[in-house]
Every structure is written in C-alpha cells, then in structure tokens.
Amino acid sequence: MADIAIDNPGGVVLLMGNEAIARGAIEAGIGVAAAYPGSPTSEIIPTIAAVAGKRKIHVEWSSNEKVATEVAAAASLAGIRSFAVMKQNGLNVASDFIVNLNMTGIGSAGMVIFVADDPGGMTSSNEQDSREVAKWFDNPLLEAQNAQEAKEMVTWGFELSEKVNLPVFLRGVTRLCYTRGNVALGKLPSGGEKKAFFPEIWDMYNPAKSRFTAGPSQVAHKNLHEKLKKARALFEDSPFNSYAGPENPELLIISSGVCTSYSLEAIEELDVADRVGALKLGTVWPMPEKLIEKRLLSTQKVLFVEETDPFIERSVMEFAAGRLPEMGGLAFYGKRSGHLAPFNEQSADLVIAALADILNIPLAPRDPGYRKKAEEAMALVPARPINMCAGCPHRATFWAVKNAIARDGRNGFVCGDIGCYSMAFAAPGFYQARTMHAMGSGIGMANGFGSLGDYGFDQPVLAVSGDSTFYHAALPALVNGIYNQSNFTLLILDNSATAMTGFQPHPGTGMLATGAPAPIVDMEGLCRSLGAEVRVCDPFDLEETTDAILAMMQKKSGARVIIMRHICQLLKAKRKIPGECKMRVDDEKCLGDSCGCDQLCTRIFGCPGLMWDGAAKKAVIDEAICVGCGLCADICPAGAIIREEARP
C-alpha cells in the first residue's frame, strides 16, 4: 500500500487489518493518534504517521498506553477527533484513566480506542479478553469480523462516540490485525482547518455550566448508564449485526469478530445451512437485547462462538435467565458446556467439531494415512525454537549475567520483563530470568525482593528492563526503590529501539513516530539525578560487563543501574551498518563435542550464526545468518572461531 490516504472513494485495495483500521481513522478525520507499540497493533501508528504531515494529524508514540489515552482524550475535549491504540496488556495500563474518563464523558469530538487481543498469546505474555472491560467500565464496544468491517467500524465508532459522549472501544484480535483483505475505500474528509479549543473553562457566574464540577460521581455514574441505554437503542438495528439462516433454526449460532467467519465455514462444511442459523454480533456491548430476544425465541438450541471468554455467552444467558417463562427450554452450548474452550485461539475446525457433536453428525474420519503423512511433512520443517537474532546484544548481556551470578555464588537471579529479552526465561538467555509478568514488573518485583533483608533474604537481585520499557513503566519502580532503599541492580538493555514490536522510536532515541528529530530523554542522566549509581557497559565486552555486574550485585545497599548499551543487530542491518568481521571456524582447533568444549557455541551460546556439522563434528559459521559481531570468538574455549578482515 503506497499511500493509505489515497483519495479514491469506492476503490478497492488489498489492506492488512491494521492498515484498514488506520484508513478508517483517517476517513473519520482524526486529528490525533497516540499509542504505545505492542503486537498485534504496531503497524497502525506508522501507517498513520506516514501521512501525518499531509493530513495534519498529530501522531505519537507515547511512553505508555495510559499517556496515549490521555493525549487522545484531551484532543477530544478540545474538539478534535482522536484515536488511541493498544494491545490487551496496554488496556490494563490505560484502564485507570478510562474508568474516570467514562464518568466525565469526552468532549465534542469523538474518541475511539482500538484494543487488540492476542488469543493464544502468540506475541504476548498473557491471554486476555478485553471485551470484559466494556461491561466493567460501562462502555460501548464493537468487534469487527474482517478488514473491511474494521475500517467501517472505526469510522462509525466516532459518530457513535459523539452521540453518546463516551469513548468507543473497537476490539480486534491478532487474526484480524494481520490478515489481508479487499477493502472498499470511503470518502476522505475535506480536511477543513479546525481549531482546537477546550471549552470547559470556569465560568464564575455560571458554575453549573462547567461539567467538571457538575456533580458527585454517583450522579456521573447514573448518567453513564443513561448513555449506555442510548447506545443499546442505536445497536438494535445496527447493520453490523446480521442474521442468516432459516426463520426457525434447529440451532442458532451467535458469534462475533473473526469467529463469525469460522461459524459460517462450519455451517457450510457440515452442510447444515437449512438447520442452523447464524447471528453475527458486531455491536457486542451493550447487547442489543431486542434483537437477541427475537432470535432466542425462534430456536431451541444456541451455540456461542467467540474468542477467549464466554462474554456474549454469559451476557445472553444472563438475559435469558430474566425471561425464564419463555426461554426456560433453551439449551446453551459453548464454553460452559465444554464444546469450545475459554482459552487459546478458536478455529473453523473447532467449531465444526462442536457443531457436529451438538447436531449428532458423524464426522467423517480422516484418511488413516493422513496423520502419518502430516507427521512426515512436519519432520521436513526444521524445528525453530525461539531465539534471539544473530549478534543480538541481549545474548551478550545474559551471558555476562549468567557468569556473574554463577561467580557470585549466592543464588542470585533476574526478574525479567517484557521485550525480546523476555526470552531470557528460556535457552536464548540461558534461563536467567526467573520471573516475568507485565511491563516494568521486573524492577517492581526486584524492589520487593530487595526489601526482604529483615527476613534473612540474602540473594542478589537483578532486574532487567528494555530501554523502551524503562520509560514505559520501570521508572516509577526505580524511584520507589531509591526512596524505599531496596537492594537490587537494574540492568537497562539499551538497544536503541523498541525492537520486539518492530523498531519504533521511544523517548531515548531522538526520533518521533513520524521520523522527525526529537529531544533525547537521557536515561543515564535521569538515573543519576534520581540518585542511582550508574555504569554504562558495552555487553560485547564480556569480561568488563561480567565484572561490572558482579561488582554492582555485591554492593550491600543503594540503587544501582547498569546501562547495557549496544545497538540492536536488526536495527543495525536496517540502517545498513556493516558487520565488524568475517567469521570462520578453524577445523583444526575446533574441539567440537569433545572434552574441553562439548559444543559450547552451538549448544549453550546458541547464536543462530553458528551451526553444528554433525558429520564433521565441528562447528561452522552459517554465512547467511552470521552478522559478524565477533562475540563467539570470545567465548570459544579453543580460540577456534576466527575473526577475519573487516567486511567491506
């Protein structure tokens, strides 16, 4: 997609879900877009940023999702449509603000929050159903089936937001964000100059006019419920909800989002279109009760198909429970009945199995040879365990951490965090991270461990934080640790980018979301000014780094920070910075799997730039993958890995 802001109403283009969502926001005439990077949403901001200048949109990577939502809300209050984007974990960070924004309401311009869940936790530390917050916060929520609908829902979401004076949630999932589909473009707004103005200024003669002093929160909460009623009424005949199938089906499937596609596929596959009806719910909360009631009364059995939690399932059952005389005979199937699971991703296959079971349709067993063939085919695919990239500075850091902890010998450990370096819980980081939860939790947990001295706790505690994570959520915990005199060492893994989610700039990089230059928020100076003892190491200097970690972890008190500074290898490749050396393994010297090495480089160190030649029983450099960082030459016990002349 060359230009997401192409002005061609009715034209059809192939767009990734995330691009379609960005396009929807642009068609809605947003003036502000803010987000913190997180898969599967990370492409939305860059897509908008690419046309930010042309469309006069303020686009930013905020330091975290709460700030992003606040930035967006302020725009709405000043009359500018705004868009906030986050993944499920980010919603948790932003939620404290949103539950208060709901009470005050937004401004005159609409505000949409796109939240993408990651069923199966493919790129996340957790699995969570964000739709639950709609009920919890009393907030309207839409869920899109495909790229086209996602674009339309974003645009309509702004209208809805303005009608009910609330931020509107759009829920997506990984499959939606990353699946490409044909999208028919809508009209682009004319881009008339709009002046931002915050009207809620204090009127000393008319205090009642100022909403922000209007009343206590129970009044605000009552208003919120009124707004929800309004939304429910609008949802009753929304085109985002639709029904297909016989008027009185034997079984009704109620589905939302990508699960609608799986349901339709299952109906077709089992050839039961004459027996099964499909109700697609696009306006998930507040539930359009009249529509639901009508469909429930037309059938005997209901199967719910949705990603992660039985959200619609529970809402519908709750509703039916209030209509027991008429609905008492209904049988409900889904996650409660065990036909589908409230975890992991759904799929057409899973829906087919559930549907077949309920309708007593014998599923034709697969050709018995199929399984064998599948297994044979699988064997051809080389196993690809998760790994850090060739030449990744995190590998160097955790090598040094591992050796420092072993040398120290007091059962020290690392509190891990979220980023590429999360892999430190496994082989790529030598199993060094022993806890891993949310953004910034590594240092928060380290604060806690480091405060247990009175209980005889004497293990050295290390916390890691990526550079981006540092600004996101680690900073308050560092402040806390200094203030409460906890005993730990923080390692900031400064690779100059938010690498895991695709190299978005952050406050330390000197660059904005648009690529324009920005002031650098200097983490080293920041930590020093807070009162921490700060050292900066290049993790590729393994010896010095190991010594620095050891020295820091052996101090008995005081906040200690080591900044591990080395540019992300992929970023280096992106910027076309050449590798330092050409590498070669000297066959004569390589000890291979014999005593004195036991395949240290391929078995433990694990850089993908090295391969084990099973026939020769020697290590070899995989020239296609090795980036020439030269680190492995320093860990080879035999001096068999040779750095040759610098690459041209």
């Binding site: 591992k402 040398r407 000890l591 014999s594 005593c595 004195g596 036991d598 078995r603 035999a638």
Partner: protein, 374 residues
C-alpha cells in the same frame, strides 16, 4: 585404576558440593564450563561429557593410590612411609639473596633456577602472588621470574590452571611446583593426558611442597584486609615455634602476628581429608617440618631424576646440605603417618563406614583397620 568415568556434573556433586575440592586447579582450565572465582570453583554451564578430564584428573575423585605410585614413580607404594625416599636431608640455597626471598631455605627456587640454567627444563609452572598477595598459577621462564615467585602463599593457589593453559603441542620442557594434591592431579594427568593443553609428557621435573593445610581465599582475604594493606605484604610465615602464630610481614609495619586460631576458620575444610603431607608423587619434596634450624629446608629426594638434579646442584655450589638428625627423621615420619590416619578417620566418618574411604581406594582392608584401631 583411575576409577569410574564421569563428567563435570559428578565433579559438582561428588567433589565440589561434597566439600572435597582442594583448589588444585586441575579441572578448570581448558574447560569453559568451570571457572575459578575468589578461591572457589564455580560451574557456569551444563556440560554433557560423561568421561571428562575434570573428573579424571581431580585428585579427589577415586584414586587407587598404590597403583598410581608404581605407575608414575616406578616404586611400590607403602602407605606407612612418607612416599618413595632416596634421601632426606637439611638443605638450603647458598645464595643469600635467594634465601632472603625464599620461604625457608630457598631450595625450591634455587633448584629450579639451576635446572633452567643447565637446560634440564625450559619453564616452571609455579605460583605468583598478585599485587594483593593472592596466588595465581604462573609460568616462569627465567631465574628472575622464579625469584619473583619465591615465598609461600598459604592460600590454595589453583596452580595447575597455568599448566592446563599451556596449549597442546607446546614443546617446552617443564617443571611443576606444588603441594600434595597438585602432585596427585599431575600424576593423574601423566597417566591419562588431557585432550587439550597441559602436555604432561613434557614434564621433566616435579617439586613438591610439604603441606599441612591451605586457606580458602574467599574467607582469608577479607580477614587479611581488615588487618593490613594487602598491597604492602612481603611474606607470610607460620614459624615452628611457638607454632601458634601466623605472621604477616609488610613493607610498612614489619611483622604482624595473628593468632593461628584466628586463621583456622579460613582453612579449607577439604584439607582434613588429605593424606599427603609430604607431596609423595614428586621427584623432590621440600618443607621446613623436621629441619633443625631456621632458614633450612627439609628435602626428600624421591626419584633418580630428583637425585641427579640434587647432585649436580651441590656440585655447582648452588645448594648446601647437612644430614637430618635421626630423631627429626622419626618425628617427620610420625607426623606424615599421623596425617594419613587423620585423613582416613575423617573420610570414614564422612561416609559413615570404613569400607568407604571416598576418593582413596586400593588400600588393603587390614591396613585401614590397623591404622584406625586407636
């Protein structure tokens, strides 16, 4: 005869965690899975080798001591004697400067410098003190370097680390200096050479040091740092009389005497299981125990190779010799045997039975019973 085949995992369980590591340094170098840190062996990663040099060469893995002696020194092993003996004499360096720098009579330094000079060897694996007085394995190539290494450090020195660092294929003819456990490790290496580095076949001469115990650096160093500026230390000594003090000589404060009892907590607990006071697997062993005079060494010449060197050194006027009085000789033998009894007793206590003497094997059951009778 070198017992079972095992790897570093077993070394970790059966030697390191079992508190048997003497700090000889045989296992670490040439192995990326282990390192020396502040007087301890630390295990860095999981090695999967099941027949490893670390296990094979460690003096605290099962060793058939009698089989060993015959193989490495060509003499039958008599557990009741302090090793093979050609002569036991009082010896000192003729050069006063060497005596001054040396621990006792400077014989070790003088003999090795002479062996270098006459071309018997090209270099010496010994131990050198760093700026803070802590010992490290070192390869000395000249008499001057040797003199810099003179004087004992009472910490376990991991000297054999330096030996194992010598790359495979290096042709230097070597002498190795060390205490009993180091001589045992070296003998094990001679019996089955390491796969990479060390080259035990090039060892032309071994000089053993008598040893009562060694200290653990991680405990001893902080203790030392409390009483003096460690960078100003010139010498340590444990004088025979009164036998209750540990003396530290510094450039500024002269002699600082510490009660030996204050030092004892830093003694490596593994030393209680050591049977070898006089470094029985060496060509020549030197100490001060037994010697009648201050500034003289007691030297046991054990092998023809050792005897040849002694003879040439006397002829060249490098060392001077006096006979060791019979009474002293009896005492020396008694304390060496006593050491063996203690080791057996402690090993039997550790395992709970005389049948299992840990790393020591090959002793006739009757002998063990007789020694542990009282």
């Amino acid at each position: 005869m070198s017992g079972t085949k095992r790897g570093s995992r077993n070394l970790l369980e059966d030697v390191l965690k079992a508190g048997l590591c003497t700090g000889c340094g045989a296992c670490v170098t040439g192995c990326p899975y282990m390192a020396i840190h502040e007087g301890r062996i630390v295990v860095l990663d999981r090695c999967t080798i099941e027949d490893g040099d670390c296990w094979r060469h460690c003096p605290r893995t099962p060793t058939d001591v009698s089989g060993f002696s015959e193989k490495t020194q060509g003499v039958p092993f008599d557990f009741l004697e302090p090793g093979a003996i050609i002569a036991v004499e009082m010896v000192r360096s003729v050069d006063a400067a060497v005596r001054e720098k040396g621990q006792d009579g400077g014989v070790v330094t003088a003999l090795l410098a002479f062996a270098l000079d006459e071309g018997m060897i090209d270099s010496v694996v010994c131990s050198k003190k760093d700026a803070g007085g802590a010992p490290h394995g070192f390869v000395a190539r000249t008499a001057r370097e040797l003199l810099e290494c003179a004087g004992s450090s009472y910490e376990a020195a991991f000297t054999l680390e330096a030996f194992r660092k010598i790359p495979a294929g290096n042709a230097d003819r070597l002498a190795v200096v060390g205490v009993g456990c180091q001589m045992e490790a070296l003998a094990k290496m001679k019996a089955a050479a390491p796969v990479n580095g060390g080259n035990p076949q090039n060892v032309q001469l071994t000089v053993g040091l008598f040893c009562g115990w060694a200290l653990r650096s991680d405990i001893f160093r902080p203790l030392l740092e409390e009483i003096c500026d460690t960078s100003r230390i010139v010498k340590f000594d444990i004088p025979h009389s009164p036998g209750t003090s540990f003396d530290v000589y510094t450039k500024d404060a002269g002699k600082i005497s510490i009660p030996l009892d204050d030092i004892r907590p830093a003694i490596n607990p593994a030393c209680q299981y050591c049977w070898d006071m006089t470094a029985e697997f060496a060509d020549i062993s030197a100490g001060s125990a037994g010697s009648s005079f201050h500034g003289w060494n007691t030297v046991i010449t054990r092998t023809p190779r050792g005897a040849g060197l002694m003879k040439r050194a006397v002829a060249a006027g490098i060392i001077e010799i006096q006979p060791l009085p019979e009474s002293r000789m009896t005492k020396l033998k008694a304390s060496a045997l006593n050491r063996k009894k203690n080791a057996l007793r402690n090993l039997a206590r550790k395992s709970g039975t005389r049948e299992d003497l840990g790393y020591i094997s090959g002793l006739p059951a009757g002998l063990v019973d007789a020694l542990l009778k009282d």
